[in-house]
């Protein structure tokens, strides 16, 4: 029964392969676009999208981002007290409905909090891949992880 890690359970350089991955459906993409008020027809209108350079509707960048973060939480920030932000989120390749997203995270650095002895700052890089192993996106973020109580 564990979700996420205590600060002591992270090791600099460790790589966690997240499982399971997830196929992004056409419904996911349309629903996500509407829910987030993103009405760019590139994501919503197949007939418009056919006239654009990619020739079809890609998956929203914000959906790839949200899913990549979400699928990393069980192995990384599932006990976090606070997310400190993302230094960058880079989108390297498009995804299309029907593609699957898989993720992995590497611990870049660990630092004890200078003010609160019960926590530390974890910096990770999370990378997303499609079903062919092609890298789709990479991000770096920091979060506060609590130390094991007692």
């Amino acid at each position: 029964m564990s979700y996420g890690r205590w600060f002591e359970e992270f090791t600099t350089g460790a790589v966690y392969k997240h499982w399971p991955g997830r196929t992004i459906t056409e419904y996911d993409n349309t629903s996500f676009a509407l829910l987030s008020m993103n009405l760019n027809p590139l994501f919503l209108d197949e007939h418009y999208a056919r006239t654009q350079p990619l020739g079809r509707r890609p998956v929203l960048d914000s959906l790839i981002f949200s899913l990549l973060v979400g699928m990393s939480v069980a192995d990384t920030s599932g006990r976090t007290i606070a997310n400190l932000g993302f230094d960058f989120v880079r989108f390297e390749r498009p995804m299309f409905p029907g593609d699957s997203l898989y993720g992995e995270s590497e611990v870049l650095s660990l630092r004890e909090s200078s003010t609160k002895p019960d926590r530390g700052i974890v910096e990770i890089e999370t990378r997303g891949f499609n079903q062919d192993g092609v890298r789709i996106a990479v991000l770096q973020r920091k979060f506060l992880a609590p130390k094991r109580p007692g």
């Binding site: 760019n40 654009q52 929203l60 914000s62 899913l67 498009p94």
Partner: protein, 149 residues
């Protein structure tokens, strides 16, 4: 009938107040967290959340970020062909169920890349109903020209 801008319509320094805002409901947050595979109990377990710093569930970060991006599309990125990256994504205040998010954006820079694509760097901030800044980020997006050169 315009949604978003062509590259020629953007200028560095332009500011946009996006409208309308949006109230984030309990359903939104639970649905969004689970559909994005984030099962952190701070987002999906009210009884767990009661024992934490804020005493209630917090809206998941990527939901607020995705919403601020989405809200800016009508004024800026509604014709964008691609997103290259987000940078300096920062959370300033927690967002709770029932809070309403408003946003504004500034065009920081415009550039034509060596491969001919035109990009805009845009800074967006999300505010809650009390005018407190809750999130900010910068994005680089690829925007089409109206007239091909």
């Amino acid at each position: 009938m315009a949604y978003g801008k062509y590259f020629e319509q953007l200028e560095a320094g332009q500011k946009f107040e996006h409208w309308p805002g949006r109230t984030i409901t309990e359903y939104d947050d639970t649905f969004f967290s689970l559909m994005s595979m984030n099962q952190h109990p701070l987002h999906v377990d009210e009884h767990f959340a009661k024992s934490t710093q804020h005493g209630q569930r917090l809206v998941e970060g990527p939901l607020v970020i995705s919403l601020v991006i989405g809200m800016s599309q009508a004024d800026i990125g509604g014709r964008a062909l691609d997103t290259i990256e987000y940078r300096n994504v920062r959370h300033f205040e927690p967002v709770f169920h029932g809070d309403t998010i408003y946003s504004h954006s500034t065009v920081l820079a415009l550039e034509e890349l060596a491969d001919g694509r035109c990009v805009a760097c845009v800074e967006s901030e999300g505010l809650n109903q009390n005018g407190k800044k809750v999130v900010s980020l910068e994005r680089t997006i690829v925007v089409p020209r109206k007239e091909a050169r």
